[in-house]
Assembly symmetry: C2
Homo-oligomer: 425 residues x 2
Amino acid sequence: MKFLFKNAKILKDAYADIFDGEVLVEDGKITYVGKAENLRADAVKDCGGNLLMPSFANAHAHSAMTLFRGVADDLPLKTWLFDRIFPLEDKLTEEDVYWGNMLAAAEYARGGVTAVADMYFYNDVIVDTLYKAGFALALCSGANDIGGGTEQALCRIETAYNKYKGDRLKYFIGLHAEYTCSDALLEGVADLAAKYGAPTYIHCSETLEEVGECTVRRNLTPVEYLHKIGFFDYGGMIAHGTYLDKGDIALLKDKNVCVVSNPSSNLKLASGVAPVYSLLKNGVKVALGTDGAASNNKLSMFREMYLLSCLQKERMKDAAAVGAEISLDAAGKTGWQALGMNGGEIAVGKDADLVLIDLSAPSMRPLSDIKKSLVYAADTSAVLLTMAKGKILYENGEYHIGESVETVYKNAEKCIKRLLKEANG
Amino acid sequence: MKFLFKNAKILKDAYADIFDGEVLVEDGKITYVGKAENLRADAVKDCGGNLLMPSFANAHAHSAMTLFRGVADDLPLKTWLFDRIFPLEDKLTEEDVYWGNMLAAAEYARGGVTAVADMYFYNDVIVDTLYKAGFALALCSGANDIGGGTEQALCRIETAYNKYKGDRLKYFIGLHAEYTCSDALLEGVADLAAKYGAPTYIHCSETLEEVGECTVRRNLTPVEYLHKIGFFDYGGMIAHGTYLDKGDIALLKDKNVCVVSNPSSNLKLASGVAPVYSLLKNGVKVALGTDGAASNNKLSMFREMYLLSCLQKERMKDAAAVGAEISLDAAGKTGWQALGMNGGEIAVGKDADLVLIDLSAPSMRPLSDIKKSLVYAADTSAVLLTMAKGKILYENGEYHIGESVETVYKNAEKCIKRLLKEANG
């Protein structure tokens, strides 16, 4: 199956110049990028001069939390978590996660996302929804042992690591967070990472309270402690990294740990603004994630890119800080690489994970600098088509995610209504 | 001409409950709101259960600066202003402003905005574009006398005040800013406001430098000084208000001055985050504006609403601060009232300035709390239809703004290309 995008403006990656040309996709892979006439294909998409670019990687998500959108807003952090989210999650069934993920699949498709690092319950269901629909999927262990079961948790993580392997499917050995796990579990997971030479994934330094409490308890920041027990010895990712000091940053750089920033979640929950400028300045890789829709409330990488750049300008009191290209890269190539997936750029041999961007939206005009407009002026309304490894997930209002959106919406409503009733009952 | 919206969910204003019903529009005014069958009309829009709500008022804009989108990003504030924007504005012709405004008209229509407070050059052209297209238009004097001409400026302001009067058309007596005007001009404008009993409009306390420099020079903050000379004696609006202390806030409250916050512009230019929480707590009205597309770079009230709430949460370190309804109100009813226009709510007798919001976008689902989703999850992709006083400006990809968008885009490109050449030449 050959699919040809013709008459496109092409952005190969965040730092490349845009040029006019064609992209040929064969069996899910990009096989030609350039300016050519008379390319033959089974299907042809005339891009009409619109922009073809790599799709986005959402490097930190709890996708099924789309179910909780709009049920816990404008509340203090602790009320949000303990009185709303935890009681709902306590009642969550596999079916809920199924429909929550399908709703997320629709939102990702609509917003140009085709790779996701997902940390949530029921891994098989996440595979059966996001992966089956065509997304590149990195499952992330969110294990904790607050209620005990350290050995069982370690066993489950190792089993999952060996189970979820495949083309565009992987599993990150990891944990929920330092403050929800015993030393035995934290060290056990570090040992697992060493056993397999595997990168790890963990929520880390999201709030000032978390960092303060760990520092009091251990006389080490969360990053210092994790570094000390070898958690980062094979690289990996930390989600959030809102509060990182110079020492933390040096350790992350030393171990090649990527920070997944979640600016909209950190902002709405009043957690803070991550030191992204300093991270980048010191050579730490920065990817981007949306976090869950219960906290942010939108799975849009456009919003995350915008905030990544603009919040740093305010934080550094420098309107030149963290330019648009850096955010495009964080949402693109760097995110894809951190996930260990073969996308994030338009190049021969890469998976055909692509987005067609509407340049006829008023907010994209004039075309003086399309890359700046992508970060500072675009939103999901700009997405005309989203393709995941050659499969069209969204095009002009039509979704191809395995279920009709009407079915998804109907079931998502049913699930959250039941959950609210059970959680409050 | 009777136009009927049927089968809608209706949000009358930010604080009202949403209900199912119909809205009848006759000759540009709302004549029925409620649940009724068998209403007859010349044209019927079946809303299919989507949300009908008041359109937005953009209470601070330099609309024609859409031309400069993407030409001055990621630069230090002074480079942005002195090396990029001022040289371009120096070459600006009436034709440039015409096409810049038409591009803004398209963007407003796409984004559900139908009332604009515009401060820019060539008032007649602003009327000939935005007002003629159907927008409620409040022109705002942006006069200064840096290069002299105090008397002429006063004369022009008074002439304009008496000239631009009409249904949905008005002119705010005012000035660019304290730091760009002589005492004679500032006091002269205060006298004009007194002569006509008119509210005023001015950029005020946008940056810390501005406030500091004024305080050193006058031993008064900009607000204290303007209050002292009677500039606020008949109320009005200040744009930005990023740096306001307790005394300033008390004076603004005392004189019933509305603060037009521009969170995205202040953020991207690293100017700061306004004390919106304190303003509201102390009874000062807060409206919302986009500022110009050269600084923010998108004329979207969805983005401004999102930022108004979320930046305050971070500023106050309280995830409960400035809830979604407050931002909806600032972008709606409060903005419309500050502009002195008859819109911003769905009620009999109000102008039919309405937006139809697509509730079938994935990011709007589930429908647990539509108001929260409007602020925290919606973007321009949610707008299905925008109506200004009974006239449809945008519907499902079609624009009705007086020029075809293709013509607008072509001419906007031409204008900015010429301007860049002249400014750099």
